[in-house]
């Protein structure tokens, strides 16, 4: 049954991907990208990767669609058609496809228990996780503790990306670039003239925030964690910005507070790591944070997940505001 659903979803995925490449209307492409993310999230879900599915649905289908639309508002709706070097790019794509297809012959079959991925470190994690960390969601244990360095790296990648986008978009627009003329009249108003979406949007925001906090702090027990929660909380504020206008959102959560939140999250993660050294163990070893090593591990995971959530929320909202404020620069 899983195989049938998987083949169905992957077929739809290929159709969507081809449609994204073929369409020249960027607005349509953005909508199709949202569908693409939702399909891949459903696919992750049927192969039991609930944590990844949640991340993909929240970030891919949710936030990035909004960010793409924000970017589209600053530029033109249609793609500029490029006809040069067509044959070369087709040849490169065909070669790459053939190589990938050839590589799939060596892959283990779907669900094969003897596949290398199930034989390497995964059995060790599953066997020893109850002894060292003892939380129900092994994914969170691996992400937060066993592979804490990787997650630290991811947080700093998000942090750096946020800084990069801010640098690019905070520059004053020059006179030479191709900018869409006269769309400044629509900015900063929100939906204040539009009663129904405004009321419904406003009444949904508390529930989205609550769900975000649930995903943040329930990550030890079920699917979830800092990345997903950060995206959800950022989505609540973006919804507020859409219905009430960007200016009022900045009054609730000013830009300086967002920058502080972003840095504080990354610092919290690094600080928990350094605390491990100061208490006499190694970087990102949480066992020494409490007298009982297992409690220490759990404390460490909760703290670094909070750091991840803060940084992701901050960066996503900073990028959103950078796009939204671009008109007024």
């Amino acid at each position: 049954m899983t195989v049938i659903f998987g083949v169905f979803l992957l077929t739809l995925l290929v159709i969507t991907a081809v449609a994204i490449v073929r369409t020249q209307n960027l607005f349509v492409a953005v909508m199709l990208l949202g569908i693409f993310s939702l399909l891949i999230a459903a696919n992750f879900f049927i192969i039991d990767a609930a944590d990844v599915a949640l991340t993909e649905a929240a970030v891919g289908a949710g936030i990035s669609t909004v960010l793409f639309l924000g970017a589209l508002a600053l530029t033109y709706e249609h793609e500029r058609v490029v006809t040069k070097h067509r044959a070369l790019s087709v040849a490169v794509v065909v070669c790459a496809t053939l190589v990938v297809l050839y590589a799939t012959f060596d892959k283990p079959t779907f669900g094969d228990p003897n596949a290398p991925v199930h034989q390497h470190v995964a059995p060790w994690y599953l066997e020893n996780e109850p002894k060292f960390i003892d939380i129900p969601n092994v994914v969170t244990a691996i992400l937060g503790s066993f592979r804490g360095y990787d997650t630290l790296g991811e947080v700093f990648v998000v942090f750096t990306a946020g800084i990069g986008v801010l640098f690019l978009l905070s520059a004053r627009p020059g006179t030479g670039g191709a900018r869409r003329p006269d769309n400044s009249k629509s900015s900063g108003i929100g939906l204040q003239h539009d009663l129904i979406p405004r009321i419904v949007g406003r009444s949904l925001i508390p529930f989205i925030l609550l769900f975000g906090l649930y995903v943040q702090f329930h990550g030890e027990y079920g699917p979830g964690g800092g990345f997903q929660a950060g995206a959800l909380i950022a989505a609540a504020f973006i919804l507020y910005a859409l219905v009430e206008g960007e200016q009022r959102t900045l009054e609730v959560l000013p830009k300086n507070a967002l920058i502080a939140l972003t840095s504080a999250g990354a610092l919290l993660y690094g600080g928990v790591g350094l605390a491990g050294i100061l208490l006499g163990s190694e970087f990102l070893d949480y066992s020494v944070l409490a007298t009982n090593p297992v409690t220490g591990q759990q404390m460490g995971i909760i703290l670094i997940e909070a750091g991840v959530g803060m940084t992701v929320t901050g960066v996503l909202l900073l990028i959103f505001h950078a796009f939204a404020a671009r008109d007024q620069v």
Partner: protein, 114 residues
């Protein structure tokens, strides 16, 4: 009542609900493809959001019985019943503001595109 018989009755009810829901989703999909202009297409697609979602989720709820899953499904249903009419409304309103006329057949959409 005999638990086996009850199970069969519940399965039949949920089967009817799921099939009917699937039918409405299919009708919504065909309508979204075949209707002449934006507003009629939206009208067809909104069948998926309302009748389709209610019937499919109802069928799944009957399958789940009295459990936490049913409460979660009911919450999802509430959420869908509030948000999808709102998004349909927002879309129609935006289309109206963009100047697409509701009563001009398929010509109205083309006018705006060109």
């Amino acid at each position: 009542m005999d638990p086996g018989l009850l199970r069969i009755i519940l399965d039949t009810i949920s089967w009817i609900l799921l099939t009917a829901g699937g039918f409405f989703v299919l009708v919504g999909g065909i309508g979204a493809l075949r209707m002449p202009n934006l507003y009629t297409r939206m009208h067809a697609a909104s069948v998926t959001d309302t009748m389709g979602a209610v019937l499919v989720l109802g069928g799944v709820m009957v399958q789940a019985g009295l459990s936490l899953a049913t409460i979660k499904l009911a919450a999802i249903l509430m959420f869908l019943l509030i948000t999808s009419p709102t998004s349909s409304y927002a879309l129609a309103h935006a289309a109206l503001l963009a100047g697409i006329k509701p009563d001009a057949g398929s010509a109205a959409d083309r006018e705006v595109h060109e």
